[in-house]
Symmetry: C2
Subunit: 356 residues, 2 copies
């Protein structure tokens, strides 16, 4: 058994958004310091970190100086360039390891990885140009979704294709980049499971939540999701399979479609996840602390949920409802310190505590 990271050690965080902010607070709660690396100055995480580096991900000297000042490195978003990780990995442990990031950065690799584990995914086919789309639709059925392999998030880089005639339009809509065609599933609802794996291999899952999206952005997660015991067990088992296969260390968000035939894995996010914010009010150890525990070599929290929670994202002008939300006795408010409420921008979230 490895010794945990000593008190006062510094955790490096690649990425400076709200997930990094909440990781930084959780690290502080366990007696650690954080150092945030992000191309933008004074972002949500830098505001609550002990130290911040503002530099581009291709600034090797800045990355090396960052790595030299920290004890272990993690990341808060999956589009950190692999080259940046390579620089850091030469000096410090990166948890989770780069393999989970590589897989989650490429939808095709991700689907093949999941299918290779025997997990259900939506039928998919690679699309390297508009000419591939007709054949892909033949394979996965129509209508389908065309999704870029890389750099998609919050519904960006996606287009719906009704028929092969839409090929050119869909291809240009997603920015003419390598893609996959993915079958549109008939699902009852979307869910996610937040799971963690510790440095010594133990796996812990939080209760799955039901997710609602609008314009491709998560709006609400309700926990517990309306799943029977068998499905809840399925969720935990598939999460364990994914984490073990990757020799993963840290928290992962796994998005699921709940269908009549069972759980279908939509995608994996090798980081703390928006749909896990409810754990801040629902559990003794939330997902942010769980991630810090994992990468710092602590025993994991057991994930017990002590109340029901409904998490609502405050997106764009949702923030104007703050005075009303602040008067709701059940509402725990979490704001991200972003100055300007642009459309689609996540400004904060609210966890509403519900009766058990």
């Amino acid at each position: 058994m490895t010794e945990p990271l000593p008190a006062g050690a510094t955790i490096g965080i690649l990425g400076g958004g709200q997930l990094g902010r909440m990781l930084s607070v959780a690290a502080g709660r366990l007696g650690y310091r954080t150092h945030v690396f992000d191309p933008a100055a004074d972002g949500p995480a830098a505001q609550l970190a002990h130290r911040a580096t503002t530099a581009a991900y291709d600034d090797t000297a800045a990355l090396e100086a960052f790595a030299a000042r920290v004890d272990v490195v993690t990341f808060e978003f999956e589009n950190v360039p692999a080259t940046a990780l390579e620089v850091v990995a030469g000096q410090r442990p990166i948890r989770p390891g780069p393999r989970a990031l590589e897989i989650s950065q490429d939808r095709l690799a991700e689907k093949r990885f999941l299918a290779g584990l025997g997990l259900a995914t939506a039928p998919f086919a690679p699309v390297d140009g508009p000419g591939d789309i007709a054949a892909a639709l033949g394979q996965v059925g129509a209508p389908a979704l065309l999704k870029t392999r890389r750099f998609g998030y919050d519904g960006k880089g996606q287009a719906r294709i009704e028929a092969a005639a839409d090929s050119e339009a869909a291809w240009s809509a997603i920015g003419a980049a390598p893609a996959i065609a993915e079958a549109l599933l008939d699902f009852r609802f979307e869910a996610s499971v937040i799971a963690a794996r510790g440095l010594t291999g133990e796996v812990v899952c939080y209760d799955p939540g039901r997710n609602e999206h609008a314009d491709g952005i998560l709006r609400r997660s309700t926990v517990p999701a309306p799943l029977d015991t068998a499905r809840r067990t399925d969720a935990a088992l598939l999460a364990g399979k994914v984490l073990n296969a990757l020799d993963y260390v840290g928290v992962m968000g796994i998005e699921l479609f709940v269908t009549a035939q069972g759980l279908v894995v939509n995608e994996i996010a090798p980081r703390v996840h928006n749909s896990g914010h409810w754990t801040q009010q629902g559990c003794a150890v939330d997902q942010f602390e769980q991630h810090v525990r994992a990468i710092a070599g602590w025993p994991l929290g057991d994930g017990t949920r002590h109340c029901d929670v409904e998490m609502e994202n405050l997106v764009g002008t949702d923030i104007d409802r703050l005075p009303e939300i602040a008067r709701d006795p059940a509402a725990a408010i979490h704001l991200y310190g972003k100055a300007e409420a642009r459309p689609g921008r996540k400004m904060g979230h609210v966890n509403r505590i519900r009766a058990r």
Copy 2:
């Protein structure tokens, strides 16, 4: 109705210990920045604040520069010198106002203030020298406690007097400083109520907790305290009376003795309070956020407790039990980032979530 402090504004905090640290995190959660002023560098609060000034409380230039950079000022411990507050008050609002601080800095003024409100206190008498002790014992009874009027905390500056013959010894034990003699009460247990008053005068109380001390230091708060409805109402009413009388803005901790005759007020602390740490796991809005809400002009949270909590302070070498505590599924751990575990030093606390 005043407008709340705008998002991105900076809250100045006088004092840089663990209370300031947790206030800073709560301020960040509501979208504010913090600037900590403390004579010691890199203390618990400075580690999680946006900015820190390291300077003495009599450094007028540093206090003025601090005030110039913040929008509102609060304090996290009651021994901030009045002169420091005067400097700051010339430039920025201080919440709560200096009057509560003045009263709580002087045990005699505090007792007279409480008695003046018609609240029950332990019988007390001023002691300005060892020659006053015999008469004071005649007034309050023996045995009694001799307590310095100023700068007492965590049981420091106190001595027990069995009889007038102990006068000289007790006087020198407390450091030969102006004091009060206070009757030793026969109480069932100690309790406290954490209350808040908003900028517009509304008062909110959390459920009282039962407190256990060792060596003058709080070790454990258990919520709810075993009080009947009438006593819980008494606690809320007396808290409201104290807060209103001071035109108070912010959170206050009020320590009580629970006696067969009812609640007796021990002392008031014009700040967030160690015995209110349980609210971090028990309520949607914890005492730290409540304080920030009050001083920033937000509506207060309503204090609803959604689970039972037992708070244990980790004092000195208690921190060595951390590996075991980290394995308790009900334990939410809060560490203060202090490097060295000296005897009597508060290193952190644990909130254990109990069944409702």
